[in-house]
């Protein structure tokens, strides 16, 4: 109904017909503001980024500081040849670079089994398939592999080799050459650069023969067996094991030793098929490492304490000459104390910190996570320093661990004789960073929460105000477009845009109401203006009649009189509505309590006689229906209803006047038989100047039903018009509230 009406209006005003009124799907202000709030989440991202940048700067700074420190130490050691003297003491370890032999708690009996040896040596390293593996394409995976362990106790070195070899080929005693069987080769590189090669071979299980060999590994140098080193070969299910015991004096001064396990599988051709070496990749690692602690150097750097850092000094042969400090932060335990149980608020803080740590991947990782062995990187780093002769610094990452390394060469005149290497944990800075991040995040969460609450409150308040305004505006006019009030109270006292909107709407309503009032007064003004000329015509006609008695029966004069009467009727009905409103306003003080049934009965008596061509049927109950109001106006209303029913009813049709009550409501209805309600005006039937009459000789300004509505509404009632269901015709029903006095 509403949309029909509005559609009509928009057509008239020529507005955009595609404009739809009423709610539309889409985001509401509240949702939009909350979405906007999400953009705040970029702040922690930015914060995170800036903290990261800060971290980078800090690490950079730390690196520079370390570099300077190493430079300082190097300067301290400059041109002091004696510090790097080789004669200072016995090298503590030899063997491949990565691995120092374990210090054993006790000596191992040479007679002990392979299993016992492997248990004693505890750490057995697998060399299978590593980068040191030399073989040809015929190699069957896992057909040959070496496990190797080493230990040192007192002045004895212990080595154990467990070799998996599908075919064990012993030495053929009849042949002179020694390189045609499964064998172990030992290369000892001496401090002076000379190299000794020893071959360990056996014709059968048990003690192995050891010969010093020439570089081609084919011929012995002297042929004399070596005594300082004893070895035994024991065959096993999948291969063989070799136990080696050597005096430290035999290889102790060596700068590097290498074991090669040589595999021969074909007992007929006796070709060497593969070699596995304990030496690091020869192309990458020129030298092994020996730890040769020089007491004087140690004494020098001992007092150099640097937090969470390890200072080491190396000579050109990659021998460790002095060391101090540890890379694991010393205050680590303090940090760890966080994890101890705490209750209450502190507990909550701790827990939230722990959660934050987890989210931020706290750098305070366990000491065990620090890399045990970083010799590869160290060696590469040292090598660079030795080669370039300049100080260097770099950052490293081992999982969560950050290490900063800096080094500086130590000069002896114009020759690099060693290098300082300082490694420091970068995790302190990281922990600082995470602490900052954590604080930042807590702060951000607080701010975010506060902003969220503020914005949510604001959004709800805004929505509430707009909704309120919208509702009030909606109710300011009836669906038919009649104004209920001329102002909007909602938001009118605020200074913001909603207040402006509210005031604008109020102003608009006021203008509209003035315009409506003007329109309502128009009939009165019009009728007043027309009364004077009408009076001229009327009085002139009457004078004409009087002065010319012979014209009394003149038909034209008669028609003129008719015309005047019709005009007068029109003017009367035009003013009727207006004066009725005034009349009703003065009536409010004189409301009567009266019986609607009696009134209707009285009124109906006259209808039949004044409208003889219609059949009137009165359905009036035996009981009384009391209502409060102005009986004169109710009667007037009934007159209008009957007039209307007569005007639009077919001749000889029946007109039913009914009165009844149900509940707290009195009903008064007039039914005619005749044409149905025209659909185009059905909604506006009770508006002024709406009529479906096309009869030129009868004036229907469409004010009758408007008057009906005014009177019904004045009495707190309503009027509806409906087409009859059973037959053609219209039923107009008035509802009035019953009197509260009974």
């Amino acid at each position: 109904m509403q949309s029909r009406h509005i559609a009509y209006e928009t057509e008239e005003l020529g507005e955009d017909p595609t404009l739809t009124l009423g709610p539309r799907p889409g985001l509401r202000i509240r949702t939009k503001l909350l979405l906007l709030l999400l953009s705040l989440l970029t702040i922690p991202y930015m914060g995170y980024n800036s903290v990261r940048t800060m971290e980078k700067f800090l690490l950079e700074g730390q690196m520079e500081a370390l570099k300077l420190t190493s430079q300082g130490i190097a300067t301290l050691l400059r041109d002091r040849e004696n510090l790097f003297s080789e004669q200072i003491g016995a090298p503590e370890f030899l063997l491949p670079f990565e691995r120092f032999p374990n210090e054993l708690f006790s000596a191992i009996s040479f007679e002990a089994s392979i299993v016992e040896w492997s248990q004693m040596l505890t750490e057995i390293v697998d060399y299978t398939g590593g980068p040191f593996f030399e073989c040809d394409l015929s190699y069957v995976p896992n057909s040959f592999s070496v496990r190797y362990g080493a230990g040192v106790h007192d002045n004895l070195f212990y080595f154990l080799f467990q070799v998996i070899d599908n075919i064990l080929v012993f030495r053929d005693s009849s042949r002179l050459s020694l390189d045609h069987n499964d064998q172990l080769r030992l290369t000892v590189e001496q401090q002076d650069g000379s190299t000794s090669r020893y071959l360990l071979t056996a014709a059968e299980e048990g003690r192995m023969s050891v010969y010093e060999m020439k570089a081609n590994w084919r011929h012995t140098t002297t042929g004399e067996p070596i005594r300082e080193l004893v070895a035994e070969i024991v065959s096993s299910e999948r291969g063989y094991g070799v136990k080696i015991k050597a005096l430290s004096a035999f290889i102790g001064q060596a700068r590097r030793i290498t074991f090669d396990v040589v595999d021969v599988d074909d007992s007929a051709s006796r070709e060497i098929e593969r070699i596995i070496s304990t030496s690091p990749d020869p192309s990458e690692y020129q030298l092994g490492r020996v730890r040769l602690i020089s007491p004087e150097l140690s004494r020098l750097i001992e007092p150099l304490y640097l937090s969470a850092s390890r200072i080491t000094i190396w000579d050109r042969d990659f021998k460790l000459r002095a060391e101090t400090g540890t890379i694991v932060p010393d205050d680590y335990d303090t940090y760890l104390a966080f994890s101890t149980e705490a209750v209450g608020w502190n507990g909550f803080i701790k827990k939230s910190q722990k959660i934050a740590d987890r989210i931020l991947r706290s750098p305070l990782i366990d000491a065990a996570e620090y890399p045990e062995d970083s010799s590869r990187e160290d060696q590469r780093f040292l090598k660079q320093i030795f080669e370039t002769g300049t100080s260097m610094a770099e950052r490293r990452r081992y999982g969560d661990v950050r290490v900063i390394a800096a080094g500086h060469p130590v000069w002896l005149e114009d020759e690099v004789i060693g290098s300082i290497l300082i490694k420091q944990s970068g995790n302190k800075i990281l922990s600082l960073q995470s602490d900052t991040l954590r604080r930042f995040i807590l702060l951000f969460l607080g701010v975010f929460l506060f902003l969220t609450l503020t914005i949510v409150f604001f959004a709800f308040r805004l929505t509430y105000r707009v909704t309120h305004l919208q509702r009030e505006t909606k109710h300011a006019a009836t669906p038919e477009g009649r104004l209920r009030k001329t102002y909007i109270r909602s938001g009118s006292r605020t200074a913001d845009e909603i207040g402006d909107l509210s005031r604008t709407i109020s102003q608009m309503l006021k203008n509209l109401s003035q315009y409506t009032q003007y329109l309502e007064r128009l009939p009165n003004t019009l009728s007043h203006e027309m009364h004077n000329p009408l009076n001229v015509v009327n009085s002139s006609l009457q004078n004409l009649e009087r002065s010319h008695q012979e014209l009394r029966s003149n038909e034209y004069l008669g028609r003129a009189r008719n015309g005047i009467v019709r005009l007068q009727n029109i003017l009367t009905s035009l003013t009727e509505a207006g004066s009725l409103k005034d009349g009703l306003e003065s009536e409010t003080e004189q409301m009567e309590n009266f019986n609607l049934v009696t009134l209707a009965a009285g009124c109906t008596q006259g209808y039949q006689s004044s409208n003889p061509s219609y059949r009137f049927i009165f359905e009036i109950p035996g009981y009384s229906i009391y209502v409060d109001g102005s009986p004169d106006h109710i009667a007037q209303m009934l007159d209008k209803l009957v007039d209307n029913a007569v005007a639009f009813g077919e001749a000889d049709g029946e007109i039913v006047v009914k009165v009844w009550k149900d509940g707290r409501t009195a009903h008064l209805s007039v039914v005619n038989s005749g044409s149905r309600l025209p659909a185009d005006i059905a909604n506006r039937l009770f508006d002024p100047m709406v009529s479906s009459s096309k009869d030129a000789r009868r004036s229907h300004l469409g004010l009758g039903l408007y008057i009906v509505r005014i009177i019904a509404e004045f009495h707190g009632g309503a009027v509806t018009a409906n087409n009859r269901e059973s037959s053609n015709g219209v039923e107009v029903t008035i509802t009035l509230p019953l009197s509260s006095k009974l």
């Binding site: 009076n535 009085s539 004078n543």
Partner: protein, 231 residues
């Protein structure tokens, strides 16, 4: 003696039409087109009766001003308002200024002459008081038909000519219903809507209630008319 009637009407056509019919009926007529002209004329000589339009040119209430001025000169001079304005406020104003009648346009000239005649007679009668022959009593109501005066419980009720005629018509036969058609004739105004009759009755009741707050002598017969209740 020829009676003089003043016509104050800004519309020449209407004024001349009124004048013609009154002259034809043997009255002398003074014609005025504006308030100032009329005031000037009234200073020279007072008419026996005045027909006033309320709106005179741009002067919205010129007729009311004239009425007041006439009242100052004579308490008994009959004044008839002839106007297109039909609001209760205007009627009440006219009443306050002791106008004797208030007629809406268009005016039936025949009825106008009759009114003028009646009012002149009443005015004449007022100058020769205590003629008891014309007194008519119904219960507590006293009607002086010739003097157009009404008393209720000895208190004077100030009615216009039309109202007087209605009260007279109702009170003449108590208990008898006067329907709208016959009341229409009584008002001598030509065709009158029921609403207009209802308006007259309402104003009459109000005037009686002003002297007797429980006045309830005029009964409504809904849809038909009114009656003067029998005691």
């Amino acid at each position: 003696m020829i009676k003089t009637i003043a016509i104050v009407e800004d519309d020449f056509d209407q004024r001349e039409n009124y004048a013609d019919v009154l002259v034809a009926n043997g009255y002398e007529v003074q014609r005025y087109g504006s308030k100032d002209e009329a005031l000037e004329g009234f200073r020279k000589s007072l008419p026996d009766l005045a027909l006033l339009d309320v709106m005179l040119g741009k002067d919205m209430d010129g007729g009311f001003d004239l009425c007041l001025s006439l009242r100052n000169q004579s308490q008994t001079l009959p004044v008839i308002f002839l106007t297109a304005r039909d609001s209760d406020a205007d009627r009440i104003s006219s009443q306050r200024m002791l106008a004797w009648d208030y007629i809406n346009k268009p005016v039936n000239l025949e009825f106008l002459v009759a009114r003028v005649h009646s009012l002149l007679q009443i005015a004449e009668h007022l100058e020769q008081p205590e003629d008891n022959n014309s007194m008519h009593t119904v219960g507590d109501l006293e009607l002086d038909q010739r003097g157009m005066s009404v008393r209720w419980n000895q208190d004077a009720v100030n009615l216009t000519l039309t109202e007087f005629w209605i009260v007279e018509a109702l009170a003449r036969r108590p208990g008898h219903v006067k329907n709208y058609e016959s009341l229409n004739e009584v008002t001598r105004q030509g065709l009158v809507e029921r609403n207009t009759i209802n308006g007259y009755i309402r104003r009459i009741r109000n005037k009686f209630r002003a002297v007797d707050s429980v006045f309830n002598q005029i009964e409504t017969v809904h849809g038909t008319g009114y009656k003067w209740s029998r005691d």
